[in-house]
Amino acid sequence: MLLEVENLHVYYGAIHALQGLTFHLEEGEIVTLIGANGAGKSTTLNTISGLLRPREGSIRFKGQELTRMRAHDIVRLGVVQVPEGRKIFATLTVSENLDMGAYTRTDPAEIARSRERVFASFPRLEERLNQLGGTLSGGEQQMLAMGRGLMSRPTLLLLDEPSMGLAPILVEEIFSIIQEINSQGTSILLVEQNANMALSIAHRGYVLETGRIVLEGTAQELRDNPQVKKAYLGEA
């Protein structure tokens, strides 16, 4: 098992945001967490990334406990998050944003190779290399955010709402790139409100409701589940 989350409890002050979350992810999988606003999806990712500290529970990556590690050390292990809302460094150029993605790496030749790979996936970034991150369009920013995440050569990529605020065509493009990244060997934990899209590319999925997992199964099982259909896929 690549990632193992067990009985995770996270609080924001008095608010009990995650109430005993348990899930796992195998090497090479795309696993999606779906759920409504406030279900605890981003909280889960931020806890894995070390931005939040759980009060209880454990997160193991390749058997290593992450809950007491600092955020930048977790990145060094290969667990990399592409945060919700892109979070591009607006005052840095596109090129510098990519450099920040490769912050933990030191070999310039390897970094250059990663750059090439990012440009192969997102040719538009190469055209905008010296533009400030803040001047990109929403879709370009999402591409930059993902490219920046890939620059660290992650073993596990945590994607938080990659479709947020994008036009349908761009959403399709982004999702096909996610599949491509996965086929090259990166495992992916995908958090999405757009359950339809997420389940169309994921291998397995979990449904979150107010900090608890209420359903789990393969993507196909979830898509066929009448409850999921009604609540998340917009089908009667």
Binding site: S49, G50, L51, R70, A71, H72, V75, R76, V80, Q81, P83, K87, I88, F89, A90, T91, L92, E96, D99, M100, G101, Y103, T104, G134, R148, S152
Partner: protein
């Protein structure tokens, strides 16, 4: 940020206006001949009365200004926009009037005005440049620290003071500036003293950097997630602590001490303008450090990490950046620049006291706000403007105005354009 800055500005501005009013009155008083004075104020009670009336009037003005700003804020929030417009019209009018008055004074009214004595004017400009470059070294530290932790580090001016004192002891007690000459007697004297001075500067920079790292770890880091006003108050306390702790006889001293320059000060007269080697060294060293800083911030990985951290800390952590480490480095770099500034300032104005950091520190802070706090170019340009403003108003208005002008500029900037010359308008953080 704006509200904190604004109330601070009003407070400092109040003091400044008091100083300015007193200064203007003294100007009037001293322009009278003894006979006129006798006839006008037999018992000499008028100055006291004027001072009292002035402070009462000033207090009323201060309360009024506070009320005015609060009202305009309320109006702005209500969406009327009237307060903002009124403020900007009033602010602009005030600034234009002040500017015109100053030009009139500078060119026409002053007995040694620009047209009558252009050499003096050139002298002020040169002195202002020298002062401006020293301010630049201090204000960069303010602006960098503000950019990265949104903290106005009021202890920065005192770190600058520690830099001056360190160099004093390095020269007076350790004879560090003579060390190269002693170790390598074959060196020419000129080279030896240059290396010695560089050693003194480097030692002061190191001491200041270590001091700032300690301050950051002990006083600011525990407050990283506290309300910003708590950190601000802590910064002021750290500043007082450094001043009074340093004035203990066991540490530095509470007296004025005369600074011994590491090299001989020589000055030349070029077209009637006095230019000393100190001025040239200050300008060269400052430019060198500014270029070095630019290279660090824009050319190195650490610099990029600083800018990324300054924009968005959580995301910077997601990139694998050790944010605490970056913040510590920022404090250290800022303090090292202030330390270098402290040595240069002491060489230019060779008299030390533990409170010497307050005024240059505050003025460098004003320079950083004027240029747009958080912006490196802004801090540099703002410092040069402050140097000129100070020298010219000291020269053409009145010596006490050199301090008052700084805070007048602060008030005007915060009223009209709180983001400063190079600052982006707020609220665009996507």
């Amino acid at each position: 940020m704006n509200r904190t800055l604004k109330s601070l500005a009003l407070f400092l501005g109040g003091i400044a206006l008091g100083v300015a009013a007193a200064g203007l009155f003294m100007l009037f008083h001293s322009s009278l001949t003894p006979q006129e004075l006798e006839a006008w104020d037999k018992d000499g009670v008028v100055p006291g009365l004027v001072m009292q009336a002035g402070s009462i009037g000033f207090g009323v003005w201060f309360l009024y200004l506070v009320g005015w700003i609060t009202r305009s804020q309320i109006r702005k929030q209500a969406g009327a926009g009237f307060g903002k417009i009124a403020r900007s019209v009033a602010g602009n009018a005030l600034m234009i009037l002040l500017g015109l008055w100053f030009l009139w004074r500078m060119f026409i009214q002053h007995p040694e005005g620009v047209l009558i004595n252009p050499t003096l004017f050139a002298q002020y400009i040169v002195d202002g440049i020298r002062l401006g470059f020293v301010y630049a070294l201090i204000s960069l530290g303010y602006t960098m620290v503000y950019g990265i932790v949104r903290l106005i580090n009021f202890a920065h001016g005192d770190v600058f003071m520690v830099g001056s004192f360190t160099s004093f002891y390095a020269i007076k007690a350790m004879r560090l500036h003579l060390l190269p000459a002693k170790l390598f007697p074959s060196l020419s004297q000129w080279v030896a003293i240059t290396i010695g001075t560089v050693l003194v500067i480097i030692l002061s920079m190191l001491v200041c950097a270590l001091l700032a790292i300690t301050i950051e770890r002990v006083a600011y880091k525990p407050l990283r997630n506290a309300p910003r006003i708590a950190a601000l108050i802590t910064a002021i306390s750290v500043s007082f602590f450094l001043e009074y702790f340093s004035s203990l006889p066991e540490v530095f001293t509470s007296n004025y001490i005369i600074y011994e320059q590491p090299f001989k000060v020589v000055s030349w007269k070029i077209l009637g303008v006095q230019i000393s080697n100190v001025t040239i060294i200050i300008i060269l060293v400052s430019i060198l450090f500014l270029l070095l800083l630019r290279w660090i911030v824009y050319g190195t990985k650490t610099g990029k990490a600083m800018r990324a951290t300054s924009w968005d800390k959580p995301t910077a952590r997601l990139m694998g950046i050790d944010v605490d480490n970056v913040i510590t480095k920022t404090f250290a770099i800022g303090a090292a620049l202030a330390g270098a500034g402290g040595v240069l300032y002491a060489i230019a104005y060779p008299q030390l006291i533990v409170f010497m950091g307050i005024m240059p520190g505050l003025k460098a802070f004003v320079a950083a706000v004027l240029g747009g706090i958080g912006n490196l170019t802004g801090a540099f340009v703002g410092s040069l403007i402050m140097g000129q403003a100070e020298m010219l108003s000291a020269g053409y208005i009145l010596t006490p105005m050199r301090d008052a002008i700084a805070f007048t500029i602060l008030i005007i900037v915060l009223l009209i354009r709180p983001t400063g010359i190079f600052g982006e308008p707020e609220g665009e953080k996507a």
